[in-house]
């Protein structure tokens, strides 16, 4: 790639990496893995940069790469996901700053539901655009969004109630 391409690529990475990391986090549920996934997706984007830039499809390509890489990662790591919350021996052992209720809520979503939520509500894509990107029908997007939000609403409300008590 030319220096100009490199500069444009750098600008794109700087501008989009944080948001795409959030998208990946919703699916893989771990910030470190999310960062790895995004980096992998950006490498893929870098390899395709001249072509993608020419087609004026950088954002779409990056989103798709991140979602694909995230879902692939969850598939590989499916057996490694904890099914129960980690129980610490002593109260002080919990990692600082961990948002367990959010993690618990996210854990209830399937990776595909999480992908739909991430694209619809973090990336602000329309139902049609999400359906397009994931290759599913608009009806599926709507139903998955509805179920996912219901899940999150219920779980976040429960954890808020517990905190208040």
């Amino acid at each position: 790639m030319s220096r100009r391409d490199d500069a444009e690529f750098d600008d794109f990475v700087a501008a989009r990496s944080a948001q795409l990391r959030r998208v990946a986090f919703l699916i893989v549920r771990d910030w470190q893995h999310a960062e790895d996934v995004v980096q992998t997706a950006f490498v893929t984007l870098y390899l395709a940069w001249p072509r993608v830039r020419k087609a004026d499809a950088i954002n779409a390509y990056a989103r798709r790469a991140v979602v694909n890489a995230s879902i692939s990662w969850t598939r590989k790591a499916r057996s490694e996901f904890p099914t129960d919350p980690v129980v610490y021996d002593r109260p002080g052992d919990e990692p600082a700053g961990r948002d367990d209720d959010l993690m618990d809520a996210l854990r209830q979503l399937t990776p595909s539901q999480a992908a739909v939520v991430a694209l619809r509500y973090l990336e602000d894509l329309s139902v049609a655009e999400v359906a397009d990107m994931l290759g599913i029908s608009e009806g599926t997007v709507k139903s998955q969004c509805s179920r996912a939000l219901a899940h999150l609403r219920r779980l976040l409300a429960e954890t808020d109630r517990v905190k208040e008590q």
């Binding site: 910030w31 870098y46 959010l102 029908s137 009806g139 599926t140």
Partner: protein, 485 residues
Amino acid sequence: MNDDDSLVVQQLRARLMADEPSTTLSPTAVRARGQRRLRRRRLLVSGAAVAAVLTIAAGTALGQATLDADRHPTTPTKRPAGYTPEQVENAMKAAVLGREGTGGDAPWRLLDVVARASNPGRIMSGDNRVIAEEWQATFTAGDEHRLDVRMVYAAPVDHTDLASQQQDCATTLDLGYADVCDVTTSRSGSVVKVQQRATYQQGESWPVRVGDSAPNQGEIPVGRRWYRQEVIEFRPDGLIVTAGETVHNSDRSDAVGQWLESTDSLAAIAADPRLRFTNPNPPYADQQRVGIGRAVIVVPSNWPVLTVPCFTPVGNYVFWYSDEYATARCSIATEPHGVAIGIGTLDSDTGRELASLYQETASGDPDTWIDSGPNCSTADDYCTEWFALESSSAFFSVVVSRPRASSMLDELRDSFEVLPPTETTVPFIGQDATYDQARSALEQAQLRLATPEDGMPGRIGFAFPSMGSAVPVGSDVRLLTPRGQ
């Protein structure tokens, strides 16, 4: 979205922002990784032992491969009917061993043959290539020479053109891994045949990996240097043949003098007419029935049936809906002129979910036809349709790009049939299945497992007849595994 939902989304966004780490991704690090990937594509070192073969990924250029800026006249990706593994292997042997004067004083002899199928994890480069089937034969002439012939039955590349192929060569040169990288073309009508010649040197240093723990940093020991020349022929019918020679030598100039083959000789191997599709099928000239159990639809015989969910799709194909994420990976939404057909079972999570989505058309009668109907958004350039017959336990999920979407959906849906009891389909068997599992799946389908080939246990390459294809009950099915790996 109601107020409650908005609140949840706001909470979610706020918590994500509050929870996320403060680190930022370094564009420079990403670019460095990308450049290393580019280099590694060109230089895959197999094995650390002296006997290791330097296998420059013949597919390096495949992803960026150019076939024709005007598009392919056909979509050949399917092994021709009746073309057996023996025929492929014999053709590869004949192309090398059958020529006069090859191998100098130490004639080539066959070392091993490797076959793989439908493994998108092995996409070599580019982002849109689905390899439907791949064969590689390796020959030796003494300890210091290897010659390999690689055939890839791959979906044609739609999006690249000759300029990008040439650019890829230039990039390779820039990276210092190719000394010569010429792209030559010959044109016949609207079809461009591309032949790429390249020599690679692995002289100074290994491809360097990220992090201090990279094992292969620094200069390559003299005793482990290999040099390679190769010729890749991109044929008009979609078959890509690579002939390459690697030679073990400590010095590049000595290595060049050590070649047993010239690039003309390699070009002759790559162009050997015995390595071919027996009869490239024009679209719709021949058809195959594919499905699960006894439920099948009819598609052109040159559409590949992928047994591993695809990564980024290209062209027309059928894929096994092996898990709930297959759809996302196999979306063809942005690909022009494509048809993707997912087939799966109604008792899977996806099958249940989709059946329930369209349940208003179901009546509880096992012979009920469940059908989403054509789903064409005016904003999109593709249409989808999902259909199943409850009693058949199989569903079909079709995505078709416009402009032929409507007629194509009708054609595919109307081709659905339930096979008579005398016929069944070869079950889909995951690559990680053991032979016992494979045998059990075949027996359930009233088929027999033919004598297993030698190979890695638990790694199913592909099946003859191919998975998903309709066959008479009681047929023998051969399972091939990768060999020599």
